[in-house]
Symmetry: C2
Subunit: 148 residues, 2 copies
């Protein structure tokens, strides 16, 4: 038997639109802050951070891809750019002839840190500063439900 899909209420629609507006607005504010500080786009940060977290073993592109929720071809090209800027190395995988392992270079590590200085300020200004701890955790739990 099929679940009966209910139409979303007006409140739901309005809140949905608000979510899109707010997230788009926040995102572009942050990207702008990065640009103003002559830093690369946010996606670079995400990739560098994941690679930093991954530690000395590095990450396979497909692993990074799934962490970043990025399309395969987009990741492939993002990695191209990171490599050509010297922030990341592609090293042939010892165990899988199809692929590579990605490692942060020391340049990459520096860039991640430099971006974080800016990004952190940006999160504080546009986001964290506008909500109390209590509100943050409420928001987090609501987002958690949406993620499921």
């Amino acid at each position: 038997m099929k679940a009966k899909p209910m139409n979303p209420s007006d409140t739901a629609i309005e809140t949905w639109a608000q979510l899109l507006r707010v997230s788009r607005h926040l995102l572009s504010a942050v990207e702008q802050d990065l640009k103003d500080a002559k830093q690369p786009p946010l996606a670079w940060y995400d990739a560098l951070l994941e690679l930093k977290r991954a530690g000395p073993d590095g990450l396979r592109p497909f692993q990074l891809q799934s962490k970043m929720l990025l399309a395969q071809y987009n990741l492939s090209r993002l990695v191209d750019r990171l490599v050509s800027e010297g922030l990341v190395k592609r090293i042939e995988s010892a165990t899988d002839g199809r692929g590579f392992v990605l490692h942060l270079t020391s340049e990459g590590r520096k860039k991640q840190a430099a971006m974080w200085k800016v990004y952190q300020r940006s999160i504080a200004n546009h986001f964290a500063g506008k909500l109390s701890d209590r509100e943050l955790s409420k928001l987090s739990s609501l987002l958690g439900q949406l993620g499921t």
Copy 2:
């Protein structure tokens, strides 16, 4: 005197990341639903809806732009596409020689309605169905604070 900027807490950072993840995920799910239904991207819907709301007076491109939080050149090109699909008409403004007024065509009206059928389902499935009324209004109020 300068406000002392506090670093965001770990919770704040985690919640921020969650917000980005969730909104990106929702957005791509909805875009995918539209594609699956052979409908154009969400941005088209937003534009068509605003023009529908604007009623018979239509909207100037710059007005539509500010409603949609879109860059000027992006709006200009979005309108190009809508016009070339016959969904929108550009009519020279009677009072301002620099610009146009945008009007929905009847095709445009139909397209808006067709997209809404899909979009509505999509909002219900990915968003509205996961939160109670109470939670929706809580979320709305939190987003409201972020928007300020």
